[in-house]
Amino acid sequence: MTETQTQQNVSAEVMVELRNVNKWYGDFHVLKDINLKVYKGERIIICGPSGCGKSTLIRCMNRLEEHQKGDIIVSGITLDDDLKHIDRVRRDIGMVFQQFNLFPHLTVMENCCLAPIWVQKKSRRDAEATAIRLLERVQIADQAKKFPGQLSGGQQQRVAIARSLCMNPSIMLFDEPTSALDPEMIKEVLDVMVDLAHEGMTMLCVTHEMGFAKTVANRVLFMDAGEIIEENEPNEFFDNPQSDRTKLFLSQIL
């Protein structure tokens, strides 16, 4: 997929909008006046030193964390204390975690079907058909009857991606999806994510995989101390960073 094709997939429809979002953990100001618009089909990579608030930022988007000031609007729904709003937003956003967080007492298939059956009220047959299709897509359909504990880390993370996709989300959040993996398993997970990007999924991904960022991202955000310091398209970001903090960070990880 070429650069121009990738650009074409992005439409003018805003999927996620953050307006002056602020969050504190006790006295600690973890997100400072964040403003961000994510367009449909956009792939955004968020990077930054540890503790900069990048995970907190995406966890606010499906209300795993609560923000205290500002507005977060996802697919036209404002996230507030209303449980119905939170519920609708979560149905529209899939999330993949660093530690996979598969349900260890359920098989791969049951992991994938639980939410479609009990949240979306799909029939078991429909849910299983969708699950098999998505497990095939992440190349793990042959393990459907196994328990997560019997799979490798890379396989578990691919199941976790399939589980999120089973809810047919329009936005996917990835919170350091390859950080807990052994080096030889990182590629199999990134391949799945690249595929997903090429199919036009709106993605926000916290990662330090700069090769992946260069391949799929429309935009790279660099955060430090709760602020978005720099925001650019990937080639410019890596070749020609503007702020000193970005330069320092890139010199440390590359």
Binding site: N62, R63, L64, D87, G94, N101, A115, W118, V119
Partner: protein, 366 residues
Amino acid sequence: MAVYITTPSPALPPPSNSVGVLGWMRKNLFSSPANSIFTLIGLYILFRTIPPTIDWALFQADWVGTSRDACSGEGACWVFVTVRFQQFMFGFYPPSEYWRVVVAFSLVGALVAWLLIERTPKKGLVGIFTIFCYPVIAYFLFYGGAFGLPVVETYKWGGLMLTLILATIGMFCALPIGIILALGRRSSMPIAKSLSVVFIEFWRGVPLITVLFMSSVMLPIFMPENLQIDKLLRALIGIIFFQSAYMAEVVRGGLQAIPKGQYEAAEALGLSYWKSMFFIILPQALKLVIPGIVNTFIALFKDTTLVLIIGLFDLLAVVQSAFADAKWIGYSVEGYVFVAAIYWVSCFSMSRYSQYLERKLHTGHA
């Protein structure tokens, strides 16, 4: 200079003295001089105690007869137990109605076996029947008062029958109440949380004997004349509240052991609080605390003997009352051994089933 291997080394069998019976004995019984001495001392103690016990309980024992004249005095005299067997089982329940108790227990035995044994069909239906229909059936069988069954007042209930009724109802009620209390205690809602904490800390903080005394002696004084609750029911409620407080803390231990990521993954998928608890958190938490739950069950089963202090004749009380019979003075050892054997078999079975359950539910994760 580079060093490398061209073919993998073959796997060799372990040395012969580390496997088999000899290997096992070497490793577990005679691994050091001190260990060998302890093994020999242990074997000697077993040799001196086990054969005489078996001799007393089985070979020299008297089994048949109708009075103490049948006892030879060389071993145990089980005639004491056989003569009074029906009373030990049913208390003062009218003999003509024994069949009702037998039917009720056989039915619940069959239902529970159906639910516990693997690969039986229609578990859901049988489960619903057991939870919702069986208690009604059992009530009319035990108490009567409908379908032409004469009423048998609860003060006539006794023996093993009463022990089993107290223990079974106690277990079936204490677990769900305990789960609700544990969830309440971890809830973010202040009212649910404080109610649960107060309930748990109150019932856990008083001895069961006090609870039973309060329920049987104090409560009637404060209650109006026309609102007298059955003594057995009062004791039962006391036992249920007391044990559910313990159960709540066991379950809470399990809930706290579940990683935060499990809650987050369930939330991120859009599962509501109750659905994520029911499908994700509780199955894992309860599996983790099976040993604790069974521990509480076993304690509950044995604690039911305490009802003898408020005048209910459970198994132990009935057997003890039989010692007072002038015709059978001096045979309390047989009585106690009989009671102990019943308790031990029951508790050991629960323990074994819990171990089987843990193995069955193991899915390859920590």
